[in-house]
Amino acid sequence: MKIIASYANKGGVGKTAAAVNLSYALAAAGERVLLCDLDPQGAASFYFRIKPSKKLTEASFFQDVEKFTQSIKASDYDNLDILPANMTFRDFDVFLAQMKQPKSRLKQALKAVAGDFDAIILDCPPNISTLSENIFKAADAVLVPIIPTTLSQRTFQQLVDFFAENDLPARKLHGFFSMVQSTKSLHDETMAVMRGTYPKTLLTAKIPFATDVERMGIHRAPVLVSAPHSAAGKAYQALSEELTLRLDPTRHGEGPS
């Protein structure tokens, strides 16, 4: 079982769209997937038409295995389950501060369902907090969407630095360019510079700025369902395949199912 976090310390960069489409792509490829919506706004849950969890409030996420497992809901797609968020998730840091070993509580909580899934995808809130540290510790891979602008470049460097300062393995970081607008020369230039700076960390796949992604809120379905053959759909599929191969190089040569 692998844990992949879709994380950015900056909001509105395509983090939830990546988590939703990656989850769908892995499930469609036959993996049993749990998408864990850790963002109190619950956007990932919304895309899958799942209402906020009523049971899993306050500290029970980390303390009550039964409530945790009972809150998981099947999505409308085979192999894909969702742990929906609710507004109490915004107080995770408060609860974690009161617990022993606050930085490994998420990993312990996820252990309870590890046997049920091949992959757990975490859609994370956009900040650096105790919860984020939990996420970095629990995840096998941290997938970071980056809008190719100067500001995002700086934010990504802050994350790389945070990893170094906290002895977190840099190999867990997998950045990819998101909301790319090919008409903007700044995007091309920034991507070129960053690929030079982080040659191993950045994935080749890049997600274009596309209305199909924005319309996920209307369709309430992954782009891979509503517009699988669109540029964005193909890009998410490529992102999923590239990441899968990175995390398990033995799968080289397996075509998408």
Binding site: F48, R49, K51, Q70, S71, I72, A74, D76
Partner: protein, 514 residues
């Protein structure tokens, strides 16, 4: 039998079609048909092996669908009409039918239409809370039966429970018998196989009469299948029933007056005599694939010619037997015989008629086993085939006796003694078949007068090669027979035979199985 999942249901009648458009509390139904309805033919063997074992096999023309007792379904692509299990291509359905006799044909037993659909129940956000897979079966008279298989969705236990309750209220839990009854009302459930219930104090006369009375309908039921030429098992079953009757008449000496016995024997022998030619040809033609395996490819054209001639002979033999079975005289004879054995009082008693069944059975079985031991003692590699044949006949008689009277003895002991006997019979049967095949091939060759010279030469070469191979196989089988025989006459087996069938102080026999 495997039990169906508690999440599988049957809907039928008006409730079936209405259900797919009914709300489930606050949830809205979404019915999604999958493809057009396809016509199907239900297939089963003559004795309804599939129905008896809770299976439903549907031939959809391009696919075979099998629904099992636990309601799980499987499908496999096919080409053309499926008649025998070995003819089906390798696949899950063939695998699931592997317990069926390869010689029994799958007969059409009903028709209808099948379609599939999905049924989901959604909330106001169009999120699915529960779903089910539907198989919609429509019988020949337009009656609709829907098999509903719930697909559990994690986190929606309440909706699942509501749906389960609604299905139980509007329909019923999955039950294969009910499904058959609803879908094929014209095809009644198979009657349980008739069982012989002998009692220890029953007279030998009544026991013999009861055994024969049970076999006559078996023979009679096989006749239409022989005429229709569905498969070779109909004739085989017909002959087994007649052979059992003849065995009773010859083994149960003294239960009827001698002249009555002689008359009955002659009447049943006359029935049997009609069938010999067709059965020999059936056996020969059933061996066809193995003959091709036995001979090199260069001899295959000769086999083609030989089997074409034999197939023509078989067609003639079948026509002859069919004429006989359909004749008024045969119908009258079978009706009279059935009537004769229907009431034990109708048959006059012989000198041993009143002997109680238990000591009578003990004496017959023990005598037959001792006879086999005597023959076995003198058997060796040089023993002529005729002596091996005699041993085979005695074994067959012993088997019949043990089976006829099985209900009077401890089942475990009878079973433990029948097992080595059956193994020995298998070897003896094979030795006999290999001998008969050689003789049959030679006589076939002798009848070659009307064939063109080129055919004569080709077939003669093929028969020569086959005879050599069959002879070698027969020698191998004789060796295996000797091994099986030594087990059957071993001191341990003899001890058990003595304990069961020749006790020093005959105790009260156990009551027969209900």
């Amino acid at each position: 039998m495997t039990h169906a999942s508690p999440d599988d249901f049957i809907l039928h009648g008006p409730a079936a079609t209405a259900f797919t458009s009914q709300r489930l509390g606050k949830l809205t139904p979404v019915f999604v048909p999958e493809g057009e309805p396809a016509p199907f033919t239900r297939l089963d063997t003559f004795d309804q092996t599939l129905r008896r074992s809770g299976r439903l096999l549907l031939d959809l023309g391009t696919a075979l669908d099998l629904i099992r007792p636990d309601s799980s379904a499987m499908t496999q692509a096919t080409h053309g009409r499926t008649k025998f299990v070995p003819d089906i291509a390798e696949g899950p359905v063939k695998q699931a039918l592997s317990d069926l006799s390869p010689l029994r044909s799958l007969l059409p037993c009903g028709t209808g239409k099948l379609s599939r659909a999905g049924l989901a129940f959604e909330d106001d956000d169009h999120k699915v809370h529960c779903r089910a897979a539907l198989q919609i079966l429509t019988g020949a008279e337009g009656q609709t039966v829907i098999l509903v298989m719930l697909h559990p969705l994690r986190g929606y236990a309440r909706a699942q429970a509501d749906l389960r309750h609604a299905l139980a209220t509007n329909g019923m839990a999955f039950d294969m018998d009910a499904l058959h009854g609803l879908l094929f009302p014209a095809s009644p459930a198979p009657a349980p196989k008739p069982k012989l219930a002998l009692t220890a104090d029953q007279t030998a006369h009544d026991a013999a009469t009861a055994i024969i009375a049970l076999q006559i309908p078996v023979a009679r039921l096989s006749e239409p299948g022989i005429v229709a030429d569905h498969d070779t098992e109909f004739l085989h079953d017909y002959r087994v029933a007649l052979r059992r009757i003849r065995s009773v008449l010859s083994l149960f000496r003294g239960v009827y007056p001698p002249d009555q016995t002689a008359t009955l024997k002659a009447r049943f022998s006359a029935l049997m005599a009609q069938t010999g030619m067709l059965r020999d040809l059936d056996v020969h033609l059933l061996e066809k694939p193995s003959y091709y395996d036995l001979l090199p490819e260069i001899q295959h054209p000769g086999l083609d010619t030989m089997f074409a001639l034999r197939a023509a002979d078989r067609a003639k033999a079948l026509a002859r037997l069919s004429r006989h079975l359909r004749s008024k005289a045969h119908g009258q004879e079978m009706t009279e015989l059935a009537r004769l054995f229907a009431t034990p009082q109708a048959l006059p008693p012989g000198p041993k008629a009143d002997t109680p069944a238990y000591p009578y059975a003990c004496a017959l079985i023990w005598k037959r086993y001792r006879k086999i031991r005597q023959i076995a003692a003198n058997l060796g590699p040089a023993t002529p085939d005729t002596d091996v044949h005699t041993l085979r006949i005695h074994c067959k008689k012993l088997r019949y006796l043990m089976e006829f009277f099985a209900g009077l003895f401890p089942p475990a002991s009878v079973k433990s003694l029948l097992k080595p006997l059956k193994a020995l019979q298998d070897h003896l049967g094979l030795v006999n078949d290999l001998s008969v095949q050689q003789v049959s091939l030679q006589s076939f060759l002798q009848g070659s007068g009307a064939w063109p010279d080129s055919t004569k030469l080709q077939v003669a070469q093929t028969v020569g090669a086959l005879t050599t191979v069959l002879h070698q196989r027969k020698l191998d089988e004789r060796r295996k027979t000797m091994d099986a025989l030594s087990g059957f006459i071993s001191p341990e087996t003899q001890k058990t035979f003595r304990e069961v069938f020749h006790p020093s102080k005959p105790g009260p026999p156990r009551k027969p199985n209900p």
